[in-house]
C-alpha cells in the first residue's frame, strides 16, 4: 500500500526587502512627528514639567499636586465637572437616541432635511447655543417675556440658566447631535428585512428597538457617549457664557488660576488632572469596546439598508 504523502506545509516566506527601504520610509515619518512634537507634545511636556517644578527650584516634586488636591475649590470643581459631564452625557444619550429613532424609523416629512441640519449643527460654536438659550430662557428672554406679557407680572418664572441646570441644558442641547450623528449612521445600516422579520415574528416596536436595533447600534451609541463625555469634561465656552458664577468646572478653574489669580503652576496641575481624566475615560471606552466586540461583525450579502441619515 502506498503510504500517504503529507502535503508540505506552506512555507511562509518574507517578501524580499529592498535594501535601504526601511530607513527611507522612516525618514518620511520624521517631519510629521517633529511637527507634532513642536506644536503639541512640547507645550504639553512644559505644562507637566511646570506642574512638577517647586517654586524654590530643585528637582521635580508633587508638592503642588498635594496643595491643589487639598483645596476645597479644586475638589468642588472636580465634582462639578464630573457630575455635569455625566449628566449632560446621559441627557444627550437619551435625547439623541430618542430623536435618532424617530428620524431614522418613523416616516416623517423632512426627515432627511433634519439629518442634514444635524450635520450643520455640529459646526456651530458651543457659545452660540448658550447665547440662543439666553434669548429663549434668559431672565429677559422670550419665554419670560411671553409670561410677563400674558400675566402682567414684573418677572418671568424662568431663572435657571445661571445654575448648574442651565449649564446642563446648554450642554445637552449642544452635544446631542454629537450622539445623533453616529447613531443615525448606524441606524441606516440596519437591514429593513431584519425589522420586518422581527415584526412578523410577533415583536412589537419597543421590543424591536430593544432587541434588534439597539444591540446593532450599541458601538455607535458608546462612541457617541464617550465623545460627548470627554467634550463635556473639557467644555469651557458654555460654562463661561451662561455666566453661572457658582458653576466652576476644571477648565474654568484652570482659567481662573492662570488668568485671574496668576497661579500658573496651580493651573498646570488642574490641567494635567483634566487631561488625565480625559485620557483615562478614553482608555476605558476603548477597553469596553474591545471586550464587547465593537459591533455585530461583518455582514454577508447586500441586503437593503435603511435609506437616509
Amino acid at each position: 500500500m502506498a503510504s500517504a504523502t503529507k502535503a508540505p506545509a506552506p512555507v511562509r516566506t518574507a517578501a524580499p526587502r529592498r535594501p535601504g527601504r526601511r530607513p527611507a520610509a522612516a525618514l518620511w515619518v520624521l517631519p510629521p512627528v517633529a511637527a507634532l512634537a513642536v506644536a503639541f507634545l512640547h507645550p504639553l511636556a512644559l505644562m507637566v514639567w511646570q506642574s512638577l517644578t517647586p517654586e524654590d527650584g530643585g528637582g521635580p516634586s508633587t508638592a503642588h499636586y498635594t496643595q491643589v488636591f487639598g483645596e476645597a475649590s479644586f475638589r468642588d470643581a472636580l465634582t462639578t465637572t464630573v457630575l455635569i459631564a455625566a449628566g449632560a452625557t446621559a441627557g444627550a444619550l437619551l435625547l439623541g437616541l430618542a430623536l435618532s429613532l424617530v428620524i431614522a424609523f418613523v416616516p416623517l416629512p423632512g426627515g432627511r432635511a433634519i439629518g442634514r441640519f444635524i450635520d450643520l449643527f455640529l459646526a456651530f460654536p458651543s457659545f452660540l447655543i448658550t447665547l440662543a438659550l439666553l434669548f429663549l430662557y434668559g431672565t429677559t428672554g422670550m419665554a419670560n417675556g411671553l409670561w410677563t406679557d400674558l400675566t402682567g407680572d414684573a418677572h418671568g418664572p424662568l431663572d435657571f440658566l445661571h445654575t448648574p441646570c442651565g449649564v446642563l441644558l446648554a450642554e445637552v442641547t449642544y452635544f446631542t447631535p454629537f450622539v445623533m450623528r453616529p447613531l443615525l449612521a448606524a441606524f441606516s445600516q440596519v437591514e429593513t428585512g431584519q425589522l420586518e422579520a422581527a415584526a412578523s415574528l410577533g415583536a412589537r416596536p419597543w421590543r424591536i428597538v430593544r432587541t434588534v436595533i439597539l444591540p446593532e447600534a450599541l458601538p455607535s451609541l458608546a462612541a457617541g457617549g464617550a465623545l460627548v463625555l470627554v467634550l463635556c469634561l473639557n467644555e469651557f465656552g458654555i460654562v463661561l457664557f451662561t455666566g453661572a458664577k457658582d458653576v466652576v468646572t476644571l477648565p474654568v478653574l484652570v482659567y481662573t488660576k492662570a488668568i485671574l489669580d496668576g497661579d500658573y503652576t496651580g493651573a498646570c496641575v488642574v490641567a494635567v488632572v483634566n487631561i488625565a481624566l480625559s485620557v483615562a475615560l478614553y482608555a476605558l471606552y476603548r477597553t469596553v469596546m474591545s471586550r464587547t466586540g465593537g459591533g455585530a461583525g461583518p455582514r454577508r450579502g447586500g441586503a437593503p439598508h435603511r435609506a437616509g441619515a
Binding site: G193, E196, A197, A198, S200, L201, E216, R300, G301, A303
Partner: protein
C-alpha cells in the same frame, strides 16, 4: 383583457390544523395598493386570490408586477388602499404585522447578526411570550426540521448563505405559523444550493401539510417545482391562476404562455368555420375553443419541444422555413426557423448532422399540442430560453 378570476378551490379540503397552530389560508378580496401622495401609482390592482389551507401558492411575475406587494400586504407591511386581506378567515387588513401570526422568510435571510442561531430561532417565541420552559424544545425542533441542529451555537456570520437561509426558515417555523410567506427565498443562493433548498422546501411542506405557503418568485422553475397553484401577475394585475401543469399546457393568456416556459407565439386569424387558424395564408389545424371568436385575431402557442423537424406525417401541421440559428444544448438542439417572417423555435434531440443557418427545413407540430389563446401579441414571446 383581464383573465378570469382564479378558481377558489383547487385542492381537496385540507386536514384539520395541528393543535397550537393558527388557522391557515389566505384570501385577497379585491385588494388594491397604491403609492404616491394621491395614490397615483397603483402597484396592485383589484387583486382577488384565495390560498387554501395547506396550499403552496406561487406568485410569479416579472419585476414590478406586484407580487411582492401582495405578499407584503399579507404580512402587514403595506396597507391596501382598497379591499381586504384575510388569514384563516379573519380579516387582518387593519392589524399590525406583529399581531398576524405569520412566518416570513426574505431573500437576504435577515438574521439578527448579534444573536446566535438558537437565539435567532427563539426570537419569535420570546416575542410571542411562549412559556420559557417550552422554548428550548421548540428551538431544537425547528432546527432539527431544517437540518441546522448542529449549528445552534454559531453566529450567523459563521454560516454559508444556504445555512443562513435554513436558519431563517427555522426561525419562521418555530412560531408554528398557519401561514408562511417566502419572498424570493432562494434568489441569493447559487444554482446548486437553490436546487437543494427547493427539495428541502418541498420536504418541509410535506411535513407541515396544514401550513399555507405564499411563495413569491420570478423563477418559473421554483414555481413549477414547488407550487400547488401558480398565480401569474403582470402590471399590478392577476393575469392567470392555475396548477403548474394547467398553466404550462393550457395557458389562458399569451403572457402566461410566454412567462411560464418557452413558447412559440404566432399571430393567427381564427377561421370562420372554426376548423383551424390562418397563419399568413397558411391553414393550420388546431382545436378552437368555444370562447375564441371566429374570424378574429388570436395567438397560437406551441412549446418548442413539441415542434419536430420534418413533415411529421399526414396529420400534423407542417411549416416550411429557413434556419436562422442553431444552438447546441447538450441533449438537444434548438433550431430557430423563420416561417414567413415568423420565428419558430424547435427543440429536437441532439442531431448528428444539424442543419446550418440558411438551410431550408420543414418543421411540424400536432394539432393537439397547440393552444389557441385569445388576443394579439405584445412581445416576441421568448421570455425564457
Amino acid at each position: 383583457m383581464r383573465a378570469p378570476a382564479a378558481p377558489a378551490t383547487a385542492r381537496p379540503a385540507a386536514p384539520a390544523a395541528e393543535p397550537g397552530r393558527p388557522a391557515s389560508g389566505i384570501r385577497f378580496d379585491d385588494v388594491s395598493v397604491a403609492y404616491g401622495r394621491h395614490g397615483e401609482h397603483t402597484v396592485l390592482d383589484s387583486f382577488d386570490l384565495t390560498v387554501e389551507p395547506g396550499e403552496v401558492m406561487a406568485l410569479l411575475g416579472p419585476s414590478g408586477s406586484g407580487k411582492t406587494t401582495a405578499l407584503r400586504a399579507v404580512a402587514g407591511f403595506v396597507r391596501p388602499a382598497r379591499g381586504r386581506v384575510l388569514i384563516g378567515g379573519r380579516d387582518v387588513t387593519g392589524l399590525p404585522p406583529y399581531r398576524r401570526g405569520i412566518g416570513m422568510v426574505v431573500q437576504q435571510y435577515a438574521l439578527f447578526p448579534h444573536m446566535k442561531v438558537s437565539e435567532n430561532v427563539a426570537f419569535g417565541l420570546k416575542a410571542q411570550k411562549t412559556p420559557r420552559a417550552e422554548i428550548p424544545g421548540r428551538v431544537a425542533e425547528a432546527l432539527e426540521m431544517t437540518g441546522m441542529a448542529a449549528y445552534a451555537g454559531r453566529q450567523p456570520r459563521e454560516l454559508s448563505g444556504g445555512q443562513q437561509q435554513r436558519v431563517a426558515l427555522a426561525r419562521a417555523l418555530a412560531i408554528r405559523p398557519g401561514v408562511l410567506l417566502l419572498d424570493e427565498p432562494l434568489s441569493a443562493l447559487d444554482a446548486q444550493l437553490r436546487s437543494g433548498m427547493l427539495a428541502e422546501l418541498a420536504r418541509l411542506h410535506r411535513e407541515l401539510p396544514d401550513v399555507s405557503i405564499l411563495y413569491v418568485t420570478h423563477d418559473q422553475i421554483e414555481a413549477l417545482t414547488l407550487a400547488d397553484r401558480i398565480a401569474v401577475l403582470e402590471s399590478a394585475r392577476l393575469r392567470d391562476c392555475g396548477t403548474p401543469q394547467d398553466l404550462y399546457r393550457r395557458p389562458r393568456t399569451a403572457f402566461t404562455a410566454s412567462f411560464i416556459g418557452t413558447a412559440n407565439l404566432l399571430p393567427v386569424t381564427v377561421r370562420a368555420d372554426g376548423t383551424g387558424v390562418d397563419l399568413g395564408g397558411r391553414l393550420l389545424t388546431v382545436p378552437v375553443a368555444e370562447g375564441v371568436a371566429r374570424g378574429s385575431g388570436a395567438t397560437l402557442c406551441v412549446r418548442p419541444h413539441l415542434v419536430g423537424l420534418g413533415d411529421g406525417g399526414a396529420t400534423g401541421n407542417t411549416l416550411p422555413g429557413t434556419v436562422t440559428e442553431v444552438q447546441w444544448r447538450g441533449a438537444t438542439h434548438r433550431l430557430y426557423v423563420s416561417v414567413d417572417g415568423h420565428r419558430v423555435m424547435a427543440d429536437v434531440r441532439e442531431l448528428r448532422t444539424p442543419p446550418t443557418p440558411g438551410d431550408t427545413v420543414t418543421v411540424h407540430f400536432a394539432p393537439e399540442d397547440a393552444v389557441l389563446v385569445p388576443g394579439g401579441l405584445t412581445g416576441d414571446g421568448d421570455h425564457h430560453g
